[in-house]
Point group: none
Chain length 220, copies 4
DNA sequence: AATGAATGAGTTTTCATTCAT
DNA sequence: AATGAATGAAAACTCATTCAT
């Protein structure tokens, strides 16, 4: 009884947290892995940032690699599906859709996911299966999304008839690199270029480059 | 005679190899580090790829970190200066200069340096001083180069008056990301988008976006 | 009740051992270092003698050198303060005090500390700061103690008026050397000169040499 | 011929030095070993101090241990024989002989041999056979010398009848420790006690302690 | 004979993983 | 379930020793 009561006081918190443990660990893991890379990240630090002890991490993940993979999966899975729904259901112009997609992604950059992209790219050599999976489930699906938008935009006469595959790649690059950059060398840029200026210029450049002749004066 | 020659032009093998060792080690180091990251790279493997034993590496570099830094420095220093000279001495149009610069860089991507960029970006968190140095000596200088080209292109009426700083960033991104991508997830792209298509589309998009009104029909 | 006690007086084994670990490691370290010297001592052996694994040593000391220094500090600090108190509070004759001090020290020789002196003396060249510290905190303080005894003995007319500084040195030497010898070549002396004979002769010689004229017949 | 002549210019020096190599190496070895201890001494440094390359050392000594032993043997062997001859041929009083012996030894302390004693004492645990040899060939022989002097001094009525074995030990200690001390912690003594004061006091104390009653006023 | 570049065995040190509490 | 002390495999690093020149 004494034993029970002594832990009863903490029970609500404990019980609530217990369920949240895996998520908390994953969150901490993304942070630390993105900061240091897989090999240089210390499990003890992940545990500390999650507010638990080293041993606890092993109750939820069999080893460091599993935690790493869980972190990548977790962070990545949701967004892309959202994007796919957006495209399917979109009513407006292709240009607006494209702009919408880019803005969505821009919002991701500063978040945890930006660092994650850096991490995956850096560790691709050490985790080939994970890299392959990520490529297929994220990169490829994202790429198809861009292709779809471009294709319909061209069909609707909004965009010039471009090399769709290649253009999808090129358009995605500044976003992708911005994500990586922000979580890496970008920290040493003083004063940093404000995100707004970057994104505004980026959108303008891409859309100016894509816009069909007749559309030209429509937008700046 | 033979005696004299042995210590001169046809220096003894040992001597000749000694002179070449640091470069050989650095070359191997860039490869391995770019592949695995700093922490996961094993010095023994670097040594093996350089065709020497573990101990030999320590004859030329006091420790792993020094080798890492030497590798970064070595690979990076030359190119940027070349670029600066090109810009200074350029006689043709700004568009051609920009195209020339992008082509130059494109040629770097597949080489050792592409992997290096990935490496630096990934390790920025673990080597802040190196990151700061790289940012200043490479990123910043490269950025100024692009700014100069844009500025003169606008002055000459070739380019639209854009936000120079931001545009320089945006323009550089696809190249930078392509470099990283090629040495990472790009390996899982099947079939991979050919470089030529990527670069052609990239150049077109950027130049179409930049070109001043009157220039419009001049080029595809 | 049992629950309470388990976290109190009869602390869990792990906990209890943890508290004892540093001391156990230091004890083993003094042994091994004194036996082999710093460089030749292997940390694995220190750990083994302390009954733990290599890695455990690093839980308590950041590296070999830190363990070495901790060992020296630990062993040395207590005794000298005891000696200082003795001298301050002494009631009897100076001769008796001197004899007491020498006896005290003699008891140290065979113990761990004897080997430690050898160790410090041997490693002075490799650990200059430690040597300086030891000289100041141990050698110098011990020297002042001997000076004090001699000075008061002379003031009381018990001892001849000698060069105090020099005599303090000379008197201490046989003890110091005996300590070193015992833990070194002394092992090859067969049959070894018994400690009692050494100390008896040593005390006699020193006191005979110090004793003032009038005191001469008083003692053998 | 050209080859020969090119080295002919240097020949005299070279030839002369060649013969001296082992001795030069030993000299350097004693220095470095005494400074750092056997394990911490680097063969490269020994070679450098001897003015040759690492490889050359291996032409004369099969390995580090052999060089170490050669160093110990070399330095030690001569002196003790000299001492034995002195004692055999001595004409004067025992006191004068004892004083002569102590003075002889004092002259050794500051020299290379002082450091060597420290070295041997420190390494006794790592080189048992060498320690045994040293004990027998040096320590034991030295001890017998002191015994002989004391014995004849007592026989001649110069010295009090003391425990000869033990007294020989005690008398030797200050010299031995002074030797060790000088090459170790003594460097941190500021201002250092001058050798003259040490030796004068030491001789006085020992002789005052030894001198037979009747002899008392004869000397200070 | 002499050199010093190269080697690799042997240590130190780190940290993912285990397990008694 | 949670902890964190302990482990030991793996990697960095050192340096005696070898050997091509």
């Amino acid at each position: 009884m004494e034993v029970a009561s002594s832990s009863a006081a903490l029970a609500p918190t404990r019980r609530r947290r217990k369920a949240a443990r895996p998520a908390e660990l994953i969150e901490a893991a993304v942070e630390v892995f993105a900061e240091k890379g897989f090999a240089a990240a210390r499990l003890e630090e992940v545990a500390r940032r999650a507010g638990v002890s080293k041993g606890t991490a092993y109750l939820y993940f069999p080893n460091k690699e599993a935690l790493f993979k869980a972190a990548v999966h977790e962070v990545v899975v949701t967004r892309i599906a959202m994007g796919e729904r957006d495209v399917e259901e979109w009513q407006g112009s292709s240009e607006e859709l494209l702009r919408h997609m880019l803005e969505q992604w821009a919002s991701v950059v500063r978040s945890r996911q930006g660092g994650l992209l850096k991490l995956i790219v850096a560790e691709a050599g050490n985790f080939p299966e994970l890299a392959a999976w990520y490529h297929q489930e994220v990169a490829e699906r994202g790429h198809r999304l861009f292709c779809a938008v471009l294709r319909s935009g061209i069909a609707r006469g909004e965009f010039r008839p471009v090399d769709i595959e290649a253009t999808a790649h090129v358009i995605a690059c500044p976003m992708a690199f911005r994500a990586i950059w922000t979580h890496s060398l970008g920290r040493y840029e003083t004063p940093a270029l404000a995100d707004e200026r970057f994104y505004h210029t980026y959108f303008s450049l891409v859309l100016a480059g894509l816009r069909a002749e007749g559309e030209r004066e429509a937008r700046t």
